[in-house]
Symmetry: C2
Subunit: 450 residues, 2 copies
């Protein structure tokens, strides 16, 4: 469903809800994919959500909706729903999504729901709840098919037919040795095209990749993306397979991580706070601005230090915005390129000095260009050649320093294992503001003999 169609659906649903057009709503809701309904739900009030939910007929559709809804929305939606009704839907959902949801509920509520599941299911979900949510263990599905090396292709297909209902994405089968350790992977397509009596041992791939339960989810995503695979097996410390991470979860991770990086760089928290209340949103964003405030206070004292220079040539103040702005903008360019380069693997911290040296050169060239431009304007405006020289040099120094700081800081943070995206926003901008102002007044005092 295209973006325009989603908007149309949202408009239609809202209109029908207002009109209480039950027959129409019923028809629309039940022919719409759960994933599309999830998008619509995001933009409805709780009341509208509850009304719409009541029109949904099949448990399967409800399960897709639950899997796709953001957890905060879902938690609110099920707050007043009877546990039995919820459990019925949870049964149809992938276990990792069930575990994610239960992790957000109160302990009693989660326990009540676990009690309603079959023993096998609740054990699987509880197993998942034991892992950190941002690791392979936290995002894996415990359902997969593991067979012995001596199994034949025919037996494997039979196993697949038997386990069919439980397995979400059986595109790979895993082969284990007599100690249940993972030794090979076979894709369903290979299984179908070999003679039925072929043993798995003979056709399995042994150069597969796997991850451990405590592997970070970003690393898992990188592996799935790099090797173009549809699922990666997760093994425990003794190399026994305990689950798989599927490509659809990887897509969500890649998107989330990109959002997180973008927001961190802007100093706007880690999650999109647009759905939060004004007060909560204010609280999340408040601390990020402190660096900028403190930096501003430092810049204030620096300018205060040069007050006598400023007294003699008051129009020096008029150049503060452009000198700070040019530094700030090129610094953001540099740090963004470095942070994103590191995140996508296109840059490597081993190249630190190369990258910083290159940024220094780029900063100097751009500084030279825009400094010259400003120098010429200033010389004409005030008919004072030395003022032009001063502001020109200030732009050169500000932009060169900014490009260097902007590229160096995230590199250093990455090297000492601090997330470079966090470093880049307010921290880099603020340092650059301070340095730009300081060098500007220092150059002015020297060149203009103030």
């Amino acid at each position: 469903m295209a973006v325009d169609q989603t908007k149309l659906l949202l408009d239609t649903v809202k209109r029908l809800l207002r009109r209480e057009a039950r027959v129409h709503l019923h028809k629309i809701v039940n022919k719409t994919h759960g994933a599309d309904l999830a998008v619509v739900f995001r933009f409805l009030t709780l009341r509208e959500q509850e009304a719409l939910f009541d029109f949904m007929e099949t448990v399967e559709q409800k399960a897709i909706l639950f899997s796709e809804l953001e957890e905060e929305v879902l938690v609110r939606l099920i707050e007043d729903m009877p546990a039995g009704k919820i459990a019925e839907i949870l049964e149809q959902m992938p276990k990792d999504d069930v575990a994610d949801l239960l992790g957000k509920l109160s302990d009693e509520r989660a326990q009540a729901l676990l009690d309603l599941m079959t023993k096998e299911e609740s054990e699987e979900v509880e197993g998942l709840l034991g892992y950190d949510t941002e690791t392979a263990g936290g995002i894996m599905l415990p359902d997969f098919i593991a067979l012995k090396e001596e199994t034949t292709a025919r037996e494997a297909i039979e196993a697949l037919q038997k386990e069919y209902v439980d397995i979400e994405m059986p595109f790979y089968l895993y082969v284990v040795d007599d100690h249940d350790r993972l030794v090979g992977v076979i894709s369903l397509r290979q299984l179908v095209v070999v003679p039925p009596h072929t043993k798995l041992k003979a056709i399995m791939a042994t150069d597969f990749v796997s991850v451990e339960t405590n592997t970070d989810q970003e690393e898992v995503a990188r592996i799935v993306a790099r090797y173009n695979i549809l699922a990666v097996p997760v093994v425990d410390e003794s190399n026994k397979p305990v689950g798989i991470v599927t490509v659809d979860d990887v897509i969500d991770i890649i998107r989330e991580e990109a959002t997180e990086d973008i927001l961190k760089m802007a100093g706007a928290g880690e999650d999109l706070v647009e759905s939060e209340s004004v007060l909560k949103s204010t609280r999340i964003r408040l601390p990020w601005l402190l660096a900028s405030w403190l930096g501003g206070i430092i810049a204030f004292f620096i300018i205060g230090h040069f007050e006598s220079s400023l007294n003699k040539l008051v129009y020096l103040a008029a150049f503060i915005p452009i000198i700070m702005g040019m530094g700030g903008n090129i610094g953001t360019q540099s740090s963004t390129i470095v942070v994103r380069g590191l995140a996508t693997g296109q840059l490597n911290i081993k190249q630190m000095w190369n990258v910083v040296a290159k940024e220094l050169a780029v900063g100097f060239l751009l500084g030279f260009f825009y400094g010259l431009l400003l120098g010429v304007v200033a010389s004409f405006r005030y008919d004072l050649w030395s003022l032009g020289m001063t502001v020109g040099l200030a732009v050169v120094s500000s932009m060169t320093i900014a490009a260097m700081v902007g590229s160096l800081v995230p590199m250093v943070f990455a090297r000492i294992n601090i997330d470079p995206a966090v470093a880049t926003g307010p921290f880099v901008t603020t340092s650059i503001d301070i340095l730009s102002v300081f060098f500007y007044f220092q150059i002015a005092t020297l060149l203009l003999r103030l």
Copy 2:
């Protein structure tokens, strides 16, 4: 292979290349996955790349390397390679990657390579070359299996076995009617678990999603991500299937689009320019800084306009950085939240006024907090109550306006179909700089009776 292992591999390869340790290199290269080699290649000089490439033995590994390498790197690498040798590798690559590569070569070179392919293959690749690279047609694979409704499961599996070699990811089979129009989709797993004589008509899903050849690749990615599917069929204007877009390509698109958004927001071009030369990088970044330079010039004239006020109270200048900085940072927060929210679908332009009103409130609250803080500091420092009031109010107005402009501009751009990410960087920052300075001096002139 984890990030650390990649670094280790890169170090080892570089060391062995320096030492010309042929036997070791040979062993390492041939046991490493082509995708890992592609990462290593990225950080080698052309000379080192050529040396390493010569050690690769299997055409399959070379094909994976070619598919994974960035096109600029690849084009340089094959520049001096004989066409016959290249064609041999292209034969093993997915057709969409071949088309992408040929699109980057000179017409003669591309034609020479096409001439070396079988007629069927070259026709398929030429077909792909006809589509815009950023549409479904440009990223699709022309290989897929389409069968008639009356086909049985057994016949379908036989077809799969026959076509096996050519098909990259045969996890879905497509069902067409007598006019070759797409009417259903079956997953390989369904095919395996039904009785062999079952007709496809009876088991195919008819509520599948499909895209058209000219659908934008971002839209394709959104669809694959939303419905958790492994491949989406691409149809022509008469609803005949012409190809499929697979989930591995979708992952690359999602990552690229995130990078593009991040870079655009920072005003640093569209592609990561870190691998470019200093001069080229400078050229790409130069125009983005012009907005900031022009904005600085406007701020300069605004301050010039208030020169007489400034003459009377020269230390007003010392507050310029903090007032600009606070506005700039909250503006970046607001616009980033909105741009990312729109990109991920968590925000909708229908909510424009809600979002802007909310940002206005958040901006005012944060402005009140930091304005009060600055007002107190300023009052004490200069023992002048009205100065504290002035700078406090300036922070409030700067931050409120910044939050509003930062959220409104990307919303408006999205509504008139201009990419909000482009709008957000230098444009928003610069407008905020100008407005902040203007309101600051206006407030100062009024309150301090200058």
